[in-house]
């Protein structure tokens, strides 16, 4: 009895051990790569972006390999060679793909040395334009398969070469033939709760004249800091939003020096605002403005929004929604033009009427105009961008931002503002001269541009306590007063799904036929071994006897 119980316990222990060992997941792979997932979102309930996350299929190198079942293959494409028309055709004809892996060149996005400019830059501009097109196609379509981005490294390049060779030789990787298998073992993405958008503001109070008790007028300088792109983990938005934010911080620093001395403090309050929700029709700006007291809103004389002032161009546009023959607008424009002449820049006025019933808000100043505040956006973009266009996605990288131009544009804005504040219109003064203590600091500009180019800032994945947001707060707190956060929730027309990064394992798998072949070989080997050992040790007669026994038993029974 005791033995029986002990046996049972041992048996159960053995079963448990086996179950534990079986549960161990094996994960040795030819290569493990960090990959970045494409965005998945709903716009007014319409699903868009990549709707799947898990990937477990064989690899192929292009869409036109004969004999491959594309619904069970992952296509690996260097992004510069992605053929949008073909991909689109596949999508429109509702043919399924197992997945898409887009590869960036290894050094994509990192700034180059000034020595290697020229041809490299032209090539880069072409590549960048193509990437922007791919990005737009990706963002605005519903892709029912997983899409991931990765940087090319040695492993991936070798793997891709082999896959290309195999495909060209007519041996695509399938379950039957073996080859490379791409595995990303994640669960489907979940809906994120409505994201928090955080606006940060800081004040530089102006100087009231003796005996004057009225509220000082305010000039607001605003820049939106968040981005949106096809790959949220890679949307660093160096130019769009990066250059604007850097400019705003430098302006805050310069004017705080001016305002530090009561003798040079202007008769205007300066309000610096870093807003979120830019790509989503400047939702954050809207909520931020509504949060203000009516009196403060009425005291805002005008607001200047900074957007995309970083690329190597000396043509800028001042976008307004008030008609251009408005006196005030003319005055502001002339201030800019005066300064621009001296800096070899050109600032043109562009008018775009606001349509209140249209929810699309293309420029940040339109949110101010809807609150009856005069506003303008200074930008190197000539036309109003469409939804999710020029929102600092994967095509907007550090390399295309020229820090000298940013410095110059900062000077442009600073001098124009100074002329307005100190009522020096038409006079030739230079407040922020080179070499003075008020000069634009190139190191400061570069440091912020570099930091922003390393920090993806897609609002739903940024969270309330993101380090970059506190960095903005601290920086503004250094130079301005009454710095505060304003948290709000993003408009519910946009719903986002989580999962922005994953690990891709590339396995080299043998085909099923190979396994069957090995099984056959091993079976034959063991069979032969058995026969040989039987014959040599027991003798041939025993073998015959063993084969003959069943019939002889029958004979015996009868």
């Amino acid at each position: 009895m005791a033995i029986g119980v002990r046996d049972r316990v041992l048996w159960q222990a053995a079963v448990a051990l086996v179950a534990l060992v079986v549960g161990v997941v094996v994960a040795d792979a030819a290569a493990v790569v960090e990959v970045y997932r494409m965005i998945q979102y709903d716009l007014r309930g319409v699903p868009l972006g990549s709707r799947r996350a898990a990937m477990n299929h064989h690899a192929s190198s292009n869409l036109a390999v004969p004999g491959s079942d594309l619904s069970r293959t992952v296509i690996i494409l260097p992004i510069a060679e992605a053929n949008i028309t073909m991909l689109n055709e596949y999508l429109q004809t509702k043919r399924l793909l197992g997945g898409l892996l887009l590869l960036f060149p290894h050094d994509y996005g990192s700034p180059t040395d000034s020595d290697s400019e020229g041809d490299g830059d032209d090539n880069y501009a072409v590549v960048r334009k193509h990437i922007a097109e791919v990005e737009q196609w990706l963002i605005h379509n519903n892709l029912p398969y997983p899409v991931y981005f990765a940087y090319e490294d040695e492993n991936l390049i070798n793997i891709l070469k082999e896959v290309v060779v195999n495909d060209a030789a007519g041996r695509p990787a399938t379950a039957m033939t073996g080859g490379y298998k791409l595995v990303i073992p994640v669960a489907d993405a979940k809906k994120l709760p409505p994201p928090t958008i955080t606006n940060i503001q800081g004040w530089l109070p102006g100087l009231r004249a003796e005996g004057d008790n009225s509220i000082l007028p305010t000039i607001a300088i605003v820049a939106s800091y968040d981005t949106f792109g096809a790959a949220p983990a890679l949307s660093v938005g160096s130019d769009n939003s990066g250059s604007g934010v850097t400019a705003l911080l430098e302006l805050a620093r310069l004017f705080s020096r001016l305002y530090a001395n009561p003798k040079t403090r202007g008769p205007y309050n300066l309000l610096f605002g870093l807003t979120a929700g830019g790509p989503y029709n400047y939702n954050g700006t809207n909520k931020w403005l509504r949060n203000f007291d009516q009196r403060i809103r009425e005291s805002m004389e005008y607001a200047l929004c900074l957007n995309t002032i970083g690329s190597s161009s000396n043509q800028l546009w001042l976008h307004v929604s008030k008609p251009p023959d408005n006196v005030f607008i003319k005055q502001i424009h002339s201030e800019f033009v005066d300064v621009a002449e001296g800096l070899d820049l050109s600032v043109e006025l562009r008018h775009k009427k606001i349509n209140i019933s249209n929810p699309r808000v293309a420029w940040e100043h339109e949110q101010f105009s809807r609150q009856r505040i005069t506003a303008a956006t200074l930008s190197q973009l000539e036309t109003a961008p469409e939804l999710f266009q020029h929102t600092g996605g994967i095509s907007d990288s550090r390399r295309m931002v020229n820090e000298t131009t940013v410095g110059q544009n900062i000077k442009l804005v600073a001098e124009s503002l100074a002329r307005h504040i100190y009522k020096q219109q038409g006079k030739q003064i230079e407040v922020f001269a080179e070499g003075s203590s008020l000069a634009v600091n190139p190191a400061y500009v570069r440091a912020w541009l570099d930091l922003l180019s390393r920090t993806p800032r897609v609002a739903p994945f940024l969270g309330k306590n993101a380090p970059i947001v506190s960095a903005f707060y601290k920086e503004l707190a250094e130079h301005t007063m009454d710095v505060s956060y304003h948290h709000d929730t993003l408009d519910s027309t946009f719903v986002f799904y989580d999962l922005t990064k994953a690990q891709l394992s590339v396995h080299q798998v043998a085909s099923v036929t190979f396994d069957l072949f090995v099984m056959l070989a091993v079976g034959v080997y063991l069979g032969l071994l058995f026969l040989i050992l039987l014959v040599t040790t027991k003798g041939f007669d025993d073998l015959i006897g063993a084969l003959r026994r069943p019939p002889s038993r029958k004979v015996k029974s009868t």
Partner: protein, 228 residues
């Protein structure tokens, strides 16, 4: 299909032991007890070997061939021989013939060796998606090891269990026993010192084991003749 691969490799690694047991007269004479006893002796020997290795061997950073270390390892490897001696001579068996005794001991020894050294890597590695030739080669190696162990057991039984041996054959017996006993050191020298590929090493092991088996068989039959 990776469980499939695991099953294939396991069949290749452990199959021959089962086949050997079934096909030869060992199964008829019910020598399972002997095999198990030999396996337990192997376990004990390996434990002692491990303790000695841990005590005397230095940990080297790189995988190169260090002569003194390898000599030490070979010396400790002779503990294997001592273990076999113990299994062959000291344990009491039911009355089974000499012939079958060494086969049973060799089989039990080789099976325990294959189980301990190869089952765990097989379980952890062969089930993965990634395909390598390693586990199939390990199976072939286990086959070669079986042949080698049985040869060593045969030579051991010749040395210690048989009283009458033709004097001319004795030095050859000792020489072959020495070669077979040092086979692990030779393979590790090939792998580390000469940096041979795993498949080449396995091929070498296979051919060497077949050669040694042939030599042992001739020696055995040479010693057999007088008693017949």
């Amino acid at each position: 299909m990776t469980l499939f691969h695991f099953i294939n490799c396991a069949a290749l690694t452990f199959g021959p032991h089962a086949v050997y047991y079934k096909a030869t007269p060992l199964s008829e004479y019910d020598t399972a007890g002997t095999c198990i006893k030999a396996a337990i002796v192997y376990l004990g020997t390996t434990l002692i070997k491990l303790v000695c290795l841990a005590t005397f061997l230095e940990v080297s950073e790189n995988d190169s061939f260090n002569l003194s270390q390898e000599l030490l390892k070979a010396l400790i490897g002779f503990l294997d021989v001592a273990g076999l001696y113990f299994a062959l001579t000291q344990l009491t068996y039911r009355n089974i013939s000499q012939n079958h005794k060494f086969q049973a001991v060799g089989l039990g020894w080789a099976f325990a060796d294959a189980l301990l050294h190869r089952l765990a890597p097989l379980w952890v590695g062969a089930r993965g998606l990634e395909f390598t030739w390693e586990y199939l080669l390990q199976g072939v190696e286990s086959n070669a090891n079986l042949v080698l162990t049985i040869s060593l057991a045969a030579l051991g039984s010749l040395l210690w269990l048989r009283k009458s041996k033709p004097s001319t054959v004795v030095p050859i017996i000792y020489a072959s026993a020495a070669i077979v006993a040092t086979m692990p050191s030779i393979t590790s020298y090939l792998r580390r010192g000469l940096a041979w590929d795993f498949s080449k090493v396995v091929m070498f092991e296979l051919s060497a084991s077949l050669l040694m088996a042939f030599v042992t068989w001739r020696l055995f039959s040479a010693c057999q003749r007088p008693s017949l």
